[in-house]
Amino acid sequence: MGSLSENARKWWRSHKQKTQQQTAPSHTPLQKQLADNEQRLRDLYANCSDVVFRSFRIGGTIRALAIYIDGLTNQEELERSVLSVLMQTKLPKDSPLTKLLDNLVPVTKSREMSTVEQCLEAIANGNPVLLIDQQERAIAFGLARWEKRQIEEPVAEGVVRGPREGFTESLHVNTALLRRQIKTPALKMEQMQIGGYTQTQVVLAYIEGIVDEDLVAEVRARLGRIEIDGVLESGYIEELIEDHPASPFPQILTTERPDVTCGNLLEGRIAILVDGTPFVLIAPTTLFSLLQSSEDYYQRSLASTTIRWLRYLFTAISFLLPSLYVALITFHHEMVPTSLLISMAASREAVPFPALVEALLMEITFEALREAGVRLPKQVGAAVSIVGALVIGQAAVQAGLVSAPMVIVVAITGIASFMIPHYIAGIAIRLLRFPMMFLAGSLGLLGIMLGIIVTVIHLSTIRSLGVPYLTPVGPIKVAEWKDTLVRAPWWMMNTRPHLTGDYQKIRQGANQKPGPKKGGDPA
């Protein structure tokens, strides 16, 4: 094991050096002669048909070169406010670049650069770079613009009441969505680059003063540890920074919704935004936060509490129902009321399989149908649902393959697993359902209890960035029950949940319960 990982590390080192040699040796300063710089960049961008080199003369005399990537840059704006302005101006030979920036070019975001690497980074991000003869510095203009998806309603997390905006693939749209909701300068967004080849921009967002500084430092350290060739989705980062990689339960929340992210930031959590994906990571998280929807906070508190309990119940059902059915049919007939037992026995009479096989068959079919439904093109999707209704339905019962109660059990389990608001949490429970069925088929209720005990021990062992996963029921934190066992009305949510270390406990003013007797006097 040790030697293997050592080898992997060696490979990575040499690989990293190689890639760096391919792109550029570290920190090469720009030369005075334009031709030298041009040659260097042309070598680096050899065989890159999408990179455009445009030579021109400033005021008809000084040679200059603009470099940009086709499709990543706002070409019209570049032509209008950089090229045409500079071509028509008269410039003394040794005038400093700052004058050029200050007086001539009407572009708000522009930056001076002195090394080849900076130029490469700017070009890759879509900012055109201007090189001028006899200058050892270059200018990058903030004229990046590329085709991006519109802000749409998040697909995986729908709400009836609540904002309909979702994150997009573009990092800066996402940060802007956060900033539009949390306007304080205390909202910090630290940017870093991860990925040797992709150089993906990653933003660590938190609210200073609410968040625990040690938590931020820990996340920063974990992000800094990552050495990977590319980051294409936040899932890469999630797997590289989580506490218990072997656990089926997600220890980091992912969301597409800015309001969910803001709500968590306000509770002292941190968010990690990754360029190229609408899914934002939120940590630390607990089991209960995976069972909460943003809408819980927008509806009336009584309704939200009831729905939460319904959700908890159905989470338990989606975890246990098939195995309970198997245990009752196989071992504990006496627990089933007689009349129900008779009808169940009658419908099982023709079924050739033992209850465990029957349940496994149906559950696996259901999982396959669901996966097929997600992956297939929409036109074929309808066919899947028609066939699915045949496989898990009346036809299967009439064929004598499965019993009618089993079909109902599978259907209820399916509905139950759709009730879990965060898809990834649902996957963990779907996975654990299968070992539970085996336990139920071999040891009955005892097996189910042993399975539950093992699951609970596991859940009470894991932590998400130092926060026990079962907070607030194990360890008990009564002050946080107001947002887990119930959803207390907002005028009662006076304290923030305690995550790690120091935190700002008080969230809002006390005694805000409204009522007809409440006058203008705040006391």
Binding site: G444, L445, L446, L450, I453, V454, T461, P475, I476
Partner: protein, 383 residues
């Protein structure tokens, strides 16, 4: 320290609560009823005296040696070799008890729910699950106990459904033969109460140890209340017949019928009871493993979790040939065996430790006094 985790005193209280009550709850009404007849509901109150004494001993000893368990401070109190021997005795007691408890649990499951399953499977699966918990550490056991505590209380909610079958007449005549029968009935339950001494293994990990005494005493009170409550219910339902059943609580729950649909609720009680038994076996198992590694001076207790688990499984077969022998042991030996090791020995240790402390203080006082006297003496001379 061997264990990095920390628990709260409330978690410890719940762990001890489940550890004592999980096995007591099934059999105590029957055992007490045998001797106390219709005064069996008084017995837990008498029995709890052992519990209070045990908790007092455990906490007083912990105050003297805050970071140590009984295996460690025994050498400090009675010297290295006798202390080590005593530690060995305690460890043998606990590993033996864990085996017995596992056997009792398995006999119960086989007898009531899975008659065709081999008993070894029932024992081995439970010990495997407990081994996982022990490996996960005291923190996980504490949290699990905290969570399962609520589920364990659930059957109490079902008890009012028995009101239809209860006859208050069974209570009378109260104290017909004086206090003696109820005291006799307390003899067996007090053995279970002595198990509260397990807290001596957990006290070093408790963060808010100031509340330890309060939490320990409340736990004993809670156990006494719950047992009284259950004994009372059983008495009201069965009368003096209670002693004729091996597991009267299970039989009582079989009586419950809600809306002619929810029947045979004993299975529900069994599932909940498994949770309690899991906590109980884990705690005994953990104490054995931790004590053994402390006794051997190991740096980590995790490597010996599995070997000791195998020993526990083996001991559950070696100690008792069948259910009758197990019951006989429970009635005849355990009421003396348990309190001897877990109440009387700790109390003796505590007495010795206090004497030793006093002696040390006196000698220290003499040491500090002596120069002072000399000083005053010289002053006087000068004066």
């Amino acid at each position: 320290m061997l264990e990095q985790g920390k628990i709260s005193s409330a978690q410890m209280g719940k762990m001890i609560f489940l550890a004592v009550i999980a096995s007591a709850v099934t059999a105590v009404p029957s055992y007490s009823g045998k001797y106390a007849q219709n005064d069996l509901w008084l017995s837990p109150a008498w029995a709890s005296l052992t519990g209070f004494l045990t908790v007092y001993a455990a906490i007083a000893l912990n105050k003297l040696y805050p970071q140590k368990s009984v295996v460690e401070y025994s050498t400090d109190i009675i010297g290295t070799i006798p202390g080590k021997l005593f530690g060995l005795l305690i460890l043998f007691f606990y590993i033996h008890m864990t085996g017995l408890i596992a056997r009792g649990y398995a006999e119960f499951i086989i007898g009531n729910f899975l008659p065709q399953t081999p008993i070894s499977i029932v024992i081995i699966t439970m010990i495997a699950v407990c081994a996982y918990a022990v490996k996960a550490g005291v923190e996980s056991i504490g949290r699990t106990a905290q969570l399962f505590f609520f589920f364990f209380m659930f059957p109490l909610i079902l008890m009012p459904f028995l009101l239809r079958d209860m006859k208050p007449d069974f209570l009378f005549p109260m104290l017909e033969h004086g206090l003696l029968p109820s005291l006799k009935g307390a003899l067996i339950p007090q053995g279970y109460f002595s198990e509260a001494f397990l807290m001596s293994f957990f006290l070093p990990f408790v963060t808010d140890r100031g509340k330890g005494m309060r939490s320990g005493m409340l736990t004993i009170l809670g156990i006494a209340l719950m047992l009284t409550c259950i004994n009372l219910f059983i008495l009201l339902v069965f009368g003096t017949q209670a002693a004729d059943y091996l597991y009267p609580v299970m039989v009582a729950f079989r009586y419950i019928s809600i809306a002619d649909f929810f029947e045979n609720l004993d299975s529900v009680v069994m599932t909940v009871w498994i949770l309690g038994m899991f906590v109980k076996i884990s705690i005994f198992y953990y104490a054995t493993v931790l004590g053994t590694s402390q006794w051997l001076g190991l740096a980590d207790y995790r490597p010996i979790v599995l070997p000791i688990g195998i020993l526990i499984a083996a001991l559950s077969f070696w100690s008792i040939p069948n259910l009758n022998q197990a019951s006989r042991f429970d009635v005849i030996s355990f009421p003396f065996y348990g309190p001897l090791m877990q109440t009387i020995c700790p109390l003796l240790l505590l007495g010795l430790a206090l004497l030793r402390k006093k002696g040390k203080q006196q000698s220290q006082a003499q040491m500090t006094m002596a120069p002072e006297q000399a000083h005053t003496h010289t002053e006087k001379q000068e004066g």
